[in-house]
Amino acid sequence: MAMISTLSAKSAALRLSFYGPGGTLFGIQIVNLLLTIMTLGIYSFWGKVRVRKYLYSQTEFSGDRFTYHGTGKELFIGALKAFAIVIVFWVTVVVLAKLVGPMAVLLVYPVILVAIPYALYGTMRYIMSRSSWRGIRFSFRGDLKECMKTYIGGVLLTLLTLGLYYPYFHTKMRRYWINNTYFGNIPFHYDGEGKDLFGSFVLAVLLTIPTLYLYWFWYAAKVGRYDWSRTKFSGGQFESTVTGGALLGLSLTNLLLLILTLGLAFPWVIVRSLKFQFHYLTLHGELGLSKIQQDARGLRIGATGEELAGALDVGSALG
């Protein structure tokens, strides 16, 4: 039981490890592809679940694997609902365009501005409620109104300030996402401030052209290190040592792999990226795991938000 005793070792650095070989993921995705073709697309939701279950069960933290509890049926129902929402919306726009005139199409922008935070919120709630470690569920307990306010206000302010507000928007959103995320009954904690990133952000904007956009990798690394240095769980402090050069190397090699294999290397790219993230991320300090209690809120949360996020192409924005 060596793996369990590491828990009590007080300030040893803990890290996430990913064990899965890319080849196994490739096999899963090929079989998913076949079944998806055979069922004219319907299986893709169940396929997505198989991939997630694999990625979770191959990820270990402190001697235990993560578990994904979502089902294909939930995703399928969520997709049907998201599809219905999109259809109803388009029909409304078309009808309005007939009644009011072509200006009604402009309605699309405010609706999308509302739909994106709603979808992100739904994704976060769904994914967290379906994730567990040591049998304890994660959960997201944010308030939808606050999400809307922070997101819409942030987008508008960013537009008004010609992008200068962006670092503040980033930290505010992250504060909202992280501080409302719980493991069992204990919340995560993030207290990043936009002003700490503002200087680097302006520098990155200025260096965009001279460095042919490459400086953004160093900016991304800096934000990554900063964000994790401001993230805590219970008595534990996260730390990332990622560098811009490493991020650039990962992106270039991934791109090269995909091009050389005509996209077939996609599963390996996923695995490499996960291993990369976990390599640079550590957690120090006393987690106080004995204080943690199951708090199975949100087990009945549906997947509409997530599928709507898919429909709007915003899923990746959560990172």
């Binding site: 369990i4 096999g27 090929i30 999109v86 388009w90 898919g310």
Partner: protein, 368 residues
Amino acid sequence: MQTTWRGHYLDGVTADPIPVTVIPTPHGFQILKPAGSDLWRYSEIQQTQGRYAGEPVRFEKGHDPAEVLVIPDASILTAVRRTAPEAAGRFHNPAVRVNRPWWITLAAVVSVVAGSGIYFWGIPAATDFLADRVPVAWEEKLGQTVVNNLVGSSPACDDPLAEKTIEQIVKRLDQAAPSHPYTFRVMLVTDPVVNAFAAPGGYIVVFSGLLEKSRQPEELAGVLAHEMQHVIRRHGTKAVFRDLSTSILIAALVGDTSGVTSAAMKGAKTLSGLSYSRKNEEEADTLGMEMIQKARIDPHGMVGFFETVQKEYGREPEFFRYFSTHPNTSDRIRRLSAMADRAAYKPVPLISTQRWRAVVGRCSSPKT
């Protein structure tokens, strides 16, 4: 032989793992905890992890939250199959992992075969089936949209004589056509383009440039016959359907619902571009020529028109032959003139040459 396995138990309430020893018995797992012993019956247990090499085996009992048993050594699965054969079906069999590479290869091959089968044969068959059952009223609406999109800005040529002449030609062709539910509506548009197109539901748009390049009414009749066949064979409706369903299928494959929205937009694009497949063009050529002959119109007129086009736009390089959606003009001329040469009847003239000359002059393009 190994009879006990080490692992840990999670109660689903706290995050503290409790070290346990597990013994597979004929009825279930005998679980020895520091605080006592417990029996998990196989019928109450689900295996949720441990299907892949190196992955600890995870058993769950109950729901929301479940109690959990984690055993790093997957050989316990083989032991259960031995001690309790009737419970074996509930759990993963590590022996099948050996076959996985074969299944994956098979799946890859079948995916490619099935994917191309659906793409090249299944979708066309299904959409053609559906397009053949679309109510004519829908097609007319669709056609109206296309016509408005494409010629909305060009001025109509309101010349009664020219319109009447074209209508007369269409009527004669229509009488020779197989029975169909469409009412042909011809629009004459002032535009120097040498072209005509058909939209779903019976709309045919003729640009005045075409009128001027047609030396004889029989040449115009050839083009009209071709366009009328696009309508009768529902080529436009089929093209829209096929485009839509292909995008939807691809969207479904990559599990991306946003594709559905873009598919709707792409369908709209097809409408405005209105390109037919090469096969459809050839079909319209052949059936149009048959219609011409049944109407006893001089078949060399249709051939003559394409010869004019070829002179006007030059020969397409051979290279494009296999990539272009439109048949190569030389091929068309060859095929059509072979059909025309086989015709054995005395052509009945459409209208007098005098009247044709009058029509051609009537609707000239505006000077730009």
